[in-house]
Assembly symmetry: C2
Homo-oligomer: 235 residues x 2
């Protein structure tokens, strides 16, 4: 027998945006695991904190956060081995994932290492896309429009081409790419159509017109939404 | 005083994929409303059914589903007026929305009519995007890739251009557009990279390689996921 590895979407920030399904798994999994920076707290754990029962084994997946770099293979090899030992002992392991596990989530690094030999189930979560749109109060995309989701680290020319060809754009992982993104939107004449959202659905949430955001930096977990096609006005 | 209009994401299908936040609002809202076809059951209501307390006033927003047409203005004018009467009587109204209210949701038709004079709050939900990826067991998008979300009704040339320029594509509202979409993917040599998902997370869920799907039609609530960039293999 072997335990099941769960990728649990815990939602974008508000602990009440967790699903019943994730809650039920959290209540019975003997082992939980979650990503964290090399030092400091885990965002995923802090989101799920009110729902984590006492007495669970906790595996903290500490990965160096180097701008522009994805984690080294050996880091995930090591954590996958630690998790695998639990699965081999017939214990279920619930991995907490911010937002949705399969939208740019680091859960894939465990999936690729463990899915061949173990049962893996993914529980989708509320993603930051829907959360940011809800915080702004404007649909992400409507009718038969294209929605393009862009990571902020993309090269300037690539960002520009995609933004130009899509009426609805969500730019994620803004962080230190804020100035570059603003340059592109200025050039395309779209600055007035851009909204900035930081830490959506958390107590520290900030929603601003992008033109009002100081350009000296943004947290990694921030997003820019741009709508420049037909909108809902008068629908 | 006036009641609050809630747009409640109820998730993609499995009733357990509703959020705690939506549940809490459902427990106390005296009036619920939901979209439904001209005859027959409401999908949004069937998803939320186990969580709807007895004795609620229910407003069924029946709209004609004409292929290629969006609902006529007067239909939503009428339902918005009915809902507004409840808000004016200081009653909260919870509108049930499949998936996430702001990802192609019809909630925008109520929002645009009622937000000027009433308090409106949107509760994001688990969208079909994350749900379909979870059902297939493969990330929607990873690392610094672009994700493009395309409505199936788009013209063939537009679908082709967007699919070609994005390593990760989700095509929604497949329905009667299946044959056209398959033609595009065949032409681009991407048929082997496409997965088909129908009624994700519901008991009737079907997940198939797109090449194995009969091309004579699909339900409206079906999706095609295409990955043709760098994937997780060996990550």
């Amino acid at each position: 027998m072997s335990g099941t590895l769960y990728g649990l979407g815990v939602g974008p920030g508000d602990p009440d945006l967790i699903t019943l399904k994730a809650l039920k798994i959290l209540e019975r999994a003997p082992v939980i695991a979650y990503p964290a920076p090399e030092t400091g707290d885990s965002l995923a754990r802090s989101i799920a904190a009110p729902h984590i029962p006492n007495g669970r084994v906790e595996i903290v997946i500490r990965t160096p956060m180097v701008p522009g770099k994805f984690p080294a293979h050996d880091v995930y090899d090591r954590y996958a081995a630690e998790i695998e030992a639990r699965l081999d002992a017939d214990e279920d392991v619930a991995v907490l994932c911010e937002g949705d596990p399969f939208l740019y989530g680091s859960f894939m690094y465990l999936l690729s290492r463990l899915s061949a030999k173990h049962s893996v189930k993914v529980v989708p979560g509320v993603s930051s896309l829907g959360a940011c749109a809800a915080s702004v109060g404007v649909p992400l995309v409507s009718r038969n429009q294209v929605l393009t989701v862009l990571p902020g680290p993309l090269e300037e020319a690539e960002l520009e081409a995609h933004i130009q060809s899509s009426p609805a754009v969500a730019i994620m992982k803004v962080g230190r790419h804020l100035r570059k993104i603003c340059r592109v939107l200025d050039r395309l004449g779209l600055m007035e159509h851009a909204q900035y959202i930081e830490r959506a659905t958390m107590p520290e949430q900030r929603v601003l017109a992008l033109r009002d955001v100081p350009r000296d930096g943004a947290p990694y977990f921030s997003m820019i939404l741009v709508r420049h096609g037909e909108t809902e006005a008068g629908v």
